[in-house]
Amino acid sequence: MLDRAAPKATSLPELPEITAATDTRAYLARAAVQAQSHDDYELIVDVDAHLQEGGFWPEIIDLLGNDVLKQTAQAMLRPGSLPLINMQPGMTFQAMAGRIPHQSGPQEQTDDPAKAGHRFVQIVRRTIETMGLDYQVIFPTAMLHLGMNPMEDIEVELARAYARWLIERILPEDPRIIALLYLPFNSPVECEKLVREYGDRPGIIGFTICAVRHKGVHHNQYARLFSMIEETGKPLVFHAGPHWDDPSFTQLNRFVSMHALSFVHYNLIHMTNWIINAMPERYPNMKVVWVESGLAWVPFLMQRLDHEVMMRQSEAPGLKRLPSEYMREMYYSSQPLERNDLELLEMTMRKINADTQLLFASDWPHWDFDPPSAITTLPFLSDQAKRNILGLNAARVFNLPVKRLRPRAKDVLAARAAAGVA
């Protein structure tokens, strides 16, 4: 019989504090474990993740086509600064004073770009593989404010430079990274030019109006643009955002108050104009997606508009059905999913036909991101509904092939274990 040796004290594996410099794979390690629960799903698409422009801004301004703006931006450039962006640097509270480190990144180490690819691509690959995604749709962050920039030429020139940066540098490096064309919506003719020039480039799967702006989306000046978009068969995506300088919001004294209302506010306004002016009747084949306002606002607006339109038909004569019926045919991204009251969430999902109309979004690396488990752990959804929401609906909206591109969850975990990473 063998003698059992007395156990010897060894040092336990330690997990360090998470900081802005933490590798995405360590930051999201728990999401890799969670990914096992939906590993057999056909397709996982994240329809809204973000570029934090700070680290890449010199590359983008280098692509500005206008000499004067380019020289201006380069003269203003400092490490981490964002020349030409109309965002007050002293008012960026998203990272909650260091409580949410990933919001102030990316500061992690990456490999030599000559061997491993563009730094941004390396970071997105880490996210995709750790979260267990097949595709991730990239949106800008700081550029979400450009609709309020009083210098319209800045929006146009940056939209073009950003499109070139994506199309020439980022998208060719990995087919799993896809993006939308940013429309400089304050300049309708320039939007048309961009759609014509870049709308059919590989990896460009739709068009986005960053919703933070004071422009009526129903205006006739956009008629030709909307027809062009409808013809492409690609969706038009309204991406919400924050804007503390909006006069009503200057009454709000905390970031949380402004953030809670602002994202919803802009989509409420654009949706109201879209419906009351009967845009779904005028562009019946247009696929419209509403991104980053959560879902709670949708049943509110359905009830409110149905109620008023029934009484004031003469002000919305283009409508052939109730507002809620059109809204139920549009698409919504899931994040930030208001999960505190599951009863209300279940009702909301029923009202928007979530099984066919809801698209999973992470919003990574922002502070209120949702991993896929925000959907997979909902007790009231059927397995098929979860599959649809996590990927199959997005495949339909964005014309993506239903073909697995992500590694198996167990292989991701095994690779992590082999590398000694918890």
């Binding site: 156990p7 010897k8 004290a9 060894t10 336990l12 594996p13 330690e14 997990l15 360090p16 504090e17 998470i18 930051y27 390690a29 728990r30 969670q34 909650m96 004073a97 260091g98 409580r99 949410i100 480190p101 990933h102 502070w367 209120d368 991101f369 949702d370 991993p371 488990s373 925000a374 918890a422």
Partner: protein
């Protein structure tokens, strides 16, 4: 079974160490002479809560006449903050400051001969006593 994590003196004050024992991640915290331990899993969406930042609880300084002089840090309560979305938990109780039903999973912990021990369900680790 008890598993030795480290000397108490190896922890800053306030301080913490997050360790993995038999696949279970546990955060051990020190506040003065007291130690606390929790599973490194956030009740929100399972994030690595114990690996976040520690900061005192923020309070609204409301006077007896109902006026507020703004926010101040607590002199007595230290929180651990989940780095995924910012849920905060009192290190002494593991409870969220706003919704007391939301709390961390406590792990039994004690100090013996100057060292910190946690009690885990399955203990086959070499550090067990």
């Amino acid at each position: 079974m008890d598993v030795r994590v480290c000397e108490v003196a190896a922890l800053d004050d306030p301080g913490r160490k997050v360790v993995e024992i038999e696949g279970q991640q546990i955060g051990v915290f020190r506040l003065g002479d007291e130690v606390f331990a929790y599973e490194n899993r956030c009740p929100h969406l399972d994030g690595p809560v114990c690996q976040g930042k520690m900061l005192p609880l923020a309070l609204e300084a409301v006077a007896s006449d109902g006026t507020s002089s703004g926010r101040v840090f607590s002199k007595t309560q230290m929180n651990i903050i989940c780095p995924w979305h910012g849920f905060e938990f009192d290190i002494r109780t593991g409870v969220h400051p706003t919704d007391k039903r939301v709390r961390l999973r406590r792990i039994p912990v004690r100090v013996k001969d100057g060292a910190v021990y946690v009690t885990i369900a399955r203990a086959t680790h070499a550090n067990q006593r």
